[in-house]
Subunit: 571 residues, 2 copies
């Protein structure tokens, strides 16, 4: 029984899912209702067809106008329960709202509508100036408001069920209300007021940080907490899961537990900007479940995921990247689903229900995220990425004149004494943005979970870890574990050849081989670099680095932010 037409569609997809997975994954459960009414994919697709942090070809919306492909996308999206799509990059061009573009948006909306997917757009806050020719984009300026009203009316004439706007304002160079001395609330509310008559909403991103001395991890909180309660009811603050930026592992953003009256939604990143792009197998359900273990799903109004969809024939570049699209949709429907269940469902529907395949591969998928964390940034390390493409390691990277919080040393703070960012009460005091109990736990080096240790503490090299090892030895072993885990994934996959088709077997094998080589590169770059501070030997009982630091420091991967590096990072 469904309460709407689209409910029937979801019911049908659920039935197909049960049919395809057999009884292998879950008991039959015919009572289903989604946790969130809004389950949205954010596409960072640019009008020129490129996709920011897209690793699977060009935009299906903005490159070839292939309506059949868009229809296939809609069906796939609906089958995993997603019901909204932001069609363009949060770094939005003013042209997004041109009449010409909106005509095409109507076409897309018409294709998506039968699948229960509503269309949203990212908007440039300066559109009234850059598109409308007004002298200002001040949200309190009457002409500006009038421009937005007319534009929104135009949109709704074309797309009567248009969902609303996603806004990145006063962040990383984008325009916003602060340019005119107005607050984020004033900016968001202006748009909300304009959209309200049409039942549209504003998703206002909290991803802001200024080039000042304040700990970047604290800034969104500092900027938005004073505005709690000041937003209209059709504004939702869209908050990235962590306080920095989609790192392999972050503690949750403290805004989620601090904001009391403002509607919130989480922005997860499905595309693997910081997780090996379309080369590394990293199943993200465990990371997202970890988030939901700390942030109550009911505290959120909605959920968004930054998509990994492109026009590659396999949609996401890596066959297993599809699993993250699937997992996002399933968790948006039910955040309590376990990673095992989701992996098992997806494997059974995507490859085969043969348990000789599904069982080891479920285990592989569930462990993959921890493996990636281990070989990239264990123990709470973050943002050791190469500048620009964010694919490989460059923990040493700095550049003259660059703001320090765009460079890894800002985050790892490695020195002769130890490693990690002191965010305790004696340091940046970021811990105090968390509820008292957690703040106390995170503040104490003895009680802080080791997974977040170097996020919250500057830890001496000889600090004794739970394993009994020193920090330095433990760090080395975590990287070694990561490499070993990547190798295990490859060996497990190699054993799956009998159960699946040759094409996909070879495709994934090639990617997993890249992943192993890249894992070694990560291990060697990070350990050899940190060793220049620790001055300690690599433990004798582990494999030793096989690359040379000086050569790795010279290496540059010459790719844009729109590309997957075909051969991986390692040389």
């Amino acid at each position: 029984m469904a309460s709407s037409d689209i409910g029937l569609l979801y019911g049908a997809f659920h039935l197909l899912r049960l049919q395809q997975t057999g009884a292998s994954c879950q008991a039959l459960n015919i009572e289903e209702a989604p946790a969130y009414d809004l389950r949205i994919l954010d596409h960072w697709d640019n009008p020129d067809g490129t996709i920011e942090r897209g690793f699977a070809g060009s935009s299906i919306f903005w490159s070839k106008n292939d309506r059949e492909r868009i229809r296939e996308y809609a069906r796939a999206n609906a089958s995993v329960g997603i019901n909204g799509a932001v069609l363009n990059n949060v770094n939005a061009k003013p042209q997004t709202l041109s009449s010409e573009t909106l005509t095409w948006v109507r076409t897309v909306a018409d294709i998506l509508r039968p699948y229960g997917i509503r269309v949203f757009l990212s908007v440039n806050f300066a559109s009234p100036m850059r598109l409308g020719g007004l002298p200002t984009a001040d949200p309190l300026d009457k002409a500006v408001v009038y421009w937005w009203e007319k534009k929104v009316e135009e949109i709704y004439r074309l797309v009567p069920d248009f969902g609303g706007f996603l806004v990145k304002a006063n962040s990383e160079g984008e325009p916003g209300p602060c340019d005119y001395g107005r607050s984020h609330a004033q900016g968001a509310n202006m748009l909300a007021r304009v959209l309200k008559p049409h039942k549209g909403i504003v998703m206002w991103r909290t991803f802001v940080y200024s080039p000042n001395d304040e700990d970047r991890a604290k800034q969104a909180y500092k900027e938005f907490m004073p505005l709690d309660g000041k937003f209209l009811d059709n504004v939702i603050l869209q908050i990235k899961n962590g306080p920095i930026d989609f790192q392999p592992r972050e503690p949750y953003s403290p805004l989620f537990t601090a904001l009391k009256t403002t509607p919130m939604m989480v922005e997860l990143q499905v595309t693997q900007e910081y997780l090996g792009a379309a080369n590394h197998l990293a199943f993200l359900a465990p990371m997202w479940s970890e988030f939901f273990s700390l942030v109550e799903p009911q505290s959120l109004r909605a959920i968004a995921g930054v998509a990994n969809v492109g026009d590659d024939r396999n949609w996401c570049g890596h066959h297993f990247a599809q699993a993250n699209w699937y997992a996002f949709g399933r968790l948006a429907w039910n955040p309590r689903l376990t990673p095992e269940t989701i992996a098992c469902e997806w494997l059974s529907q995507t490859f085969t229900t043969d348990t000789r395949f599904v069982r080891p591969m479920t285990e592989l998928m569930v462990q993959s995220h921890e493996t990636v964390v281990n070989y990239m940034m264990p123990l709470g390390l973050h943002h050791l990425f190469a500048s620009g493409h964010h694919y490989g390691p460059q923990p040493w990277f700095t550049a003259p004149g660059m703001r320090s919080d765009w460079t890894p040393p800002y985050y790892h703070r490695s020195d002769a004494r130890g490693l990690g960012f002191d965010r305790t009460r004696r340091g940046s005091d970021a811990v105090s943005q968390y509820p008292e109990e957690l703040a106390t736990q995170y503040d104490d080096i003895q009680t802080c979970p080791e997974r977040y240790l170097l996020w919250f503490h500057h830890v001496p090299w000889d600090h004794r870890m739970q394993s009994g090892r020193t920090l330095w030895d433990e760090l080395c072993h975590r990287y070694a574990d990561g490499v070993a885990g990547a190798r295990r994934m490859l060996a497990t996959w190699d054993g799956m050849e009998p159960y699946i088709d040759a094409k996909r077997f070879a495709d994934v094998q090639r990617k997993l081989r890249i992943q192993v080589r890249d894992a070694e590169w990560w291990r060697d770059a990070c350990l050899l670099y940190f060793q220049t501070f620790s001055g300690r030997p690599i433990p004798a009982d582990m494999e030793h680095p096989v690359h040379n630091l000086d050569e790795m420091m010279q290496f540059r991967l010459d790719i844009s932010n729109y590309e997957n590096p075909v051969g991986g990072y390692s040389r």
Copy 2:
């Protein structure tokens, strides 16, 4: 007490050795006499200063005319007991015997003489034509003999203690007596007759093989056995240790036990043409001891080693390549010295007598050759090398029109049934060139030592090995053992940092890292290629290949035969 002046010099060097190694390596033994009167280094140095299979820069004899460097070489050589040097490549240019060149040879001889080292030259058999302008080089032609007599007189006027000639004739395109229908014996004896009045000798190489259907491993035997007893007494046949060509492991050349009346000497290769050039650490004393365990040292008249000396500041390119120069000298003096003793001596004199260094490094050195065999060509595999430079793997290499015995498939004979060259009585019957007892042992797949198994047998993939594994699984594990061994060497070396100087520590570490990466490349190239025949999976309990066969098959290392590849082979 010494029976000659040079004996006193050797005694002095021995005393220094004892002093430098302390009592750590051996008991004091003051009775010393060399096993061979002739202990010769063959330099494959070309007149243009390049060195064939040289990986340590340019020739010290033919590039800069640096007399002090030559003197240092003489002292080093004498200190390890070597008393002869062939100054030029066996692929000899006729210009070697020009009056201009001989004048310089006199200078070199004058520098070497105080160190008890006599000079020899490789000669081109066609010199009477190409240098002397005669219409023939037929050894029975009177004008030819006369030309050689005059030339030899000229040499002895300049170098009264000149040692004699080394000859590569009718081999790999070099001229020889067979060009005129004469035998190797007729050619060698003509030169021997000319040298005899001056007490000079002829070292006549047996490294010959024709482009015919006969198993290449059998050819030197077939060509020289009929000549046994036909050589004058100042001819020595110079026989490579194995029947093919300095492979990482070969059975001994059957000529050593077959020739009954002809003086023989062994030609060992100190330079690592097939053992990782100046990048891989491969201590060769164990390989040479293995040879002497099968060929009685007393059955040989003399010993020669193809040198790895160049004008690099560290002489041999790799600090540890010096150990092979040292080991060759020590074994030429006493073939019964154990590899452990030699490694221990060399380490103590080269780095430090600290047992925390010497003990683990002795073990590392002694195991290194087996490690290299494992990751390159275990179980009797041979000649899987890339064409030309012989550095990396190219087991698939063939080229249109190339003689098959210059290509790896000629040697490994991989097919759907199995792997290896059938040299049993049912195959090429090369086993029958060995003494009856050995021939019977090698002929039977159950008794043939596994180290030579694929040398003598085409073995089914599912053949049960001593480990209980199938051939395929055992092959995989041997390659895995090789990689593991290379990694152990690196980890061991990394632990030696406290005991030695930073410069050499870093130099060797860089080489060992290359060796690990190359070992993985070898493993992957060979296993993935052989897997195309075996059709069997890589065992689950070992690390799986991380490179792709198609990419490895496209890879070319663009170096000449005179170079060490600075970054290794792996990409």
